[in-house]
Amino acid sequence: MSTIVVDGGFATGRRLHPWPVRIMHWTNAVAMIVMIGSGWGIYDDSVIFHGLHFPPSLRIGSWAAESLLWHFAAMWLLALNGLAYLTYGVATGRLRERLLPIRFADIVATVRDTLRLKIAHDDLTVYNAVQKVLYIVAILAGVSQIVSGLAVWKPVQFSGLTALLGGFQGARLIHFLGMAVIVGFLIVHVALSLLVPRTLWAMLAGGPRLRAPRAGRRP
C-alpha cells in the first residue's frame, strides 16, 4: 500500500478500472459462466464422483451434445480473453501492482480467515489482502483450466501433457477440481461485490479517477 501517493498529485483522468479491464472482466464473466454451466452438462454424462451430478436446471445445453457445443465455442472466448488480460496486466504492470507483494504472514492470515469465511473486516486493508489472494488463486485456476482442458480435449496430440497430469482421468479430475475452485471464488466474489455495491459499480463505470504521483515522492 506504500506505493500509493494519496495526496498532492494532479488528476490524470485515468480510472481505477480502465476500459480494457472492464471489457475483459465482463467478457470473462460471460465465458466463465458458459464454461461452468456447459461443463456441468458434460460432467453429468459420465460422473467422476458417484452420486454427484448437477441438476438439469443448472446446466447449459439440454443434453451432452449441446453442452459440448457451448463448451467448445466458449473456450475460445475464455482463452483469448484470458490471454489478452494477462498480456495487458503484465505489459502495463497492473497485475504486479494490484496483486503484489503479499507477505507470507499475510497469506497465512488471509487463508485462515477465508477458511473461516471471515470475509468482512473492520480494516479495509486486510479485506484487500483477502482479495489479492483470491484473485491470484482465480487467475492460476483459470490458467490450470486451460492446461487441463487441453489435456482432456487432446490426450493423443498432447499425450505428454496428459501423462504429466496423471493420464486422461487424472486430467479430467484436475479439470473438475479447477472448476470447483473457480466456482468457490465466484461465490465469494459475487457475494462481496453485492455487499459493497460501489465495487460493482466501479467495474461497470470505471471507478474513481486516479491521481498521478508528485515528482520525487517515490516510497
Binding site: 481505477l16 457445443l69 494490484r98 469465511l117 459475487v190 459493497v196
Partner: protein, 261 residues
Amino acid sequence: MISSFRPAKRPDPAILDAHRGVIRALERRLVRRGLLRGGLSLGALSLLTGCDLSDDSAVGRALRAMSSFNDGAQAALFDPNRLAPEYPASMVLKPPIFNAYYNVEDVKPLDGDRWRLEVAGLVTDKRAWTRQQIAALPERAMIIRHICVEGWDYVGQWSGVPLRAFLERVGADLRAKYVAFRTADDYPSSIDMATALHPQTLLATKYAGQTLADPFGYPLRLRTSTKLGFKNPKWITAIEITNVYPGGYWESRGFNWQSGI
C-alpha cells in the same frame, strides 16, 4: 513502485458500517449452510443463457458454425506422425465395453460367410471383399486407450488391416477429403483422410487376439487411436471415398464431426 492503477483516495471503511448487519447475517448463513448452497445463485445466472437449440435458431446456427470452425482447428492440430500411447497387454480390458445408440440385447449379429465389404466412390477397384480376403491382408495390432465422448475410457487391444494399406490396395484417391462408412446397424460415420492414413487406424477384425465378438462389430469395425469412441463404427458393410461431407449418426445430432483426441 508508483502505480497509476491504485485509487488516489482509498475507500472509506465506514461504507461497511451501513451494511454491517447484512454482512454478519450473510456470514452466519454461509457458515450454517456451507458453500455449496451459494451455487444456486450461479445456477440462476446460468439459466439466463440457456437457449433452445432448435435447428433454425440463431444460437443453434452460431454453435454449429463454431463446431465447423473447431473441425478446422482440430485438423490443424492433428499431427499425422504422432502415435497415441500404447500400453502393456496386462492392461487390456476383457471383454471391452459395449456402447451404441441401443442396448446390447438389440445387437443383430452378422453372418460372417455372407458378409461382404463394398467399396465405392473415388477408387479404381470397386470389387466387394469377403472376410477371407480381408484376413489375407497385412495385419497390425495395437493396444490403445478408448476414450468416450461421455468421459469414460479403457485400454483395448485391436488387430486388423491398417486402413491406409486397404485404401492403397483398392486404389483410393488419397487426396480425397473423406472416408465414409455404412454399417449393418444404420450407424453412418465418416473420418478425414489424414486420420484414415494414420498408422493407428485399423479395419479391426480381432480384439485381444481373438476374432471380434458379435457385440463389438464382427466381422469388421473401425478402430482409430486418434478419435473419440463414437467415431469408430462397428459392423461395417461399405466404405466410400468422397469429397462430399458425409456426416454421421451422432454428428447429425449435434456432436462435433472431427472429434479428434
